[in-house]
Symmetry: C2
Subunit: 244 residues, 2 copies
């Protein structure tokens, strides 16, 4: 199924943007009267009909609206982006497929990547959302220093995941330590979750202690030594499995 993305639908603007219009009209040769499947990234999926096959501003009318509720638990992963950006892009694509609510790139003491351009990454999220026929676009936040983020998300913070859902928030920091219990054993089905994933070389012990002092729980992702992007995917999938 070919999906188009039009976040402007939620503002009653029934025109595809330039990139989606070009793809629809010039690449796929869609014409007036043709049916489109459109998602708005916020849970809406639409059956639409082209009213003006303009190659830059393809207009449509909506025939039918389906609303998808978001998954009943929110997954927020805060992760140090990898030096090799392809690996981070893979993490974004795979977690979008599996299902993720929010991603926050972290600047940590051992981070090799200290800057991040989120515009290209945004496109990867959109493509992955369309590919996996989802109506929700994950929220990608800007890079933030580790301690600043921890303070924002601390146990008594009102901000939490930015969620309005009533679920409790499970806060976990995945790091290598012998006494951490597996995430699958300490996270409870239905909880919202915020999981921190460190850079290659792991969080520093100062960072780990700072998170523990702010209400985060140390968790293990299993026996294997995983790359950062693999740890992120594994954490996201673990939360889904507990909810299965």
């Amino acid at each position: 199924m070919q999906l188009f993305y039009a976040p402007q639908i939620t503002r009653n603007n029934f025109v595809l943007d330039e990139i989606e219009s070009r793809h629809c009209v010039q690449v796929l040769r869609r014409k007036v009267g043709d049916t489109l499947q459109i998602v708005d990234g916020e849970g809406g999926m639409y059956k639409a009909v082209i009213t003006n096959a303009h190659p830059k501003k393809c207009a449509f009318s909506i025939e039918e609206t389906l609303t998808f509720s978001s998954q009943p638990f929110q997954i927020h992963i805060a992760i140090a982006p990898t030096k090799n950006i392809n690996r981070f892009e893979w993490f974004l694509e795979k977690t979008t497929e599996i299902g993720i609510t929010q991603i926050t790139p972290l600047l940590t003491q051992r981070s090799e990547r200290k800057k991040l351009r989120t515009d290209r990454l945004q496109k990867i999220l959109i493509t992955a959302m369309k590919q996996s026929v989802k109506a929700h676009l994950p929220q990608l936040n800007e890079l933030i220093p580790f301690k600043k983020f921890i303070v924002q998300k601390a146990e008594n913070s009102k901000l939490d995941t930015g969620s309005t859902a009533p679920n409790e928030l499970f806060r976990g920091i995945a790091h290598l330590a012998d006494n951490n219990l597996p995430l699958s054993k300490v996270y409870t089905k239905g909880e919202n979750a915020l999981i921190l994933i460190g850079p290659e070389g792991d969080f520093t012990s100062e960072e780990i202690n700072f998170a523990l002092q702010h209400g985060f729980e140390g968790v293990s992702l299993g026996e294997s030594r995983l790359r950062t992007e693999t740890a992120g995917i594994v954490a996201c999938h673990t939360l889904h499995l507990v909810n299965q």
Copy 2:
């Protein structure tokens, strides 16, 4: 930790091959008397000392041997390689990190990739094994037509996973069907597992029926529509979580 790979150790040949020798002697500038960590891919990890820093045939003596037992359950994933080979390479890398015993590339009715060069893929497995500090190299088989493979692995076959372990073999075929139970619910902790993953567009119903008739069980990997390589990673990780 820098690991070197020397499968020839198991034949009492204490020389690194040309690629590993070049890396060790020319790139890393290791000299006579320096200590190396070596794995043989079959569960052995060695502390060795260089006796001749030859750039093509670096010789060493073994100081200490550690034997790692393999994980107590075997994971065999048979999967249709993706058209885009990078995606298949990612599957190999990630499942090696997470832990996999054997991989069989499948030629299915909807396969877009009908040939596969396994030599380059072998290098990816070796790199991933070393990166994740594992002593076992997953076995990568040659591409095989779907039905031929199913007949070999059918319920009454003596061949099973090629394993000598006494565990039962769980045979699953992951495909999109409303009545398939989640893999995490039907697979039992400790069992060896063989999971079939289809191409983009899924297995044909003929293929699915053929597998079901030969003792395979239909399984679901969750609600999300996953790409082939993501499904492979998710299946592998699900088996690990059940065993956690």
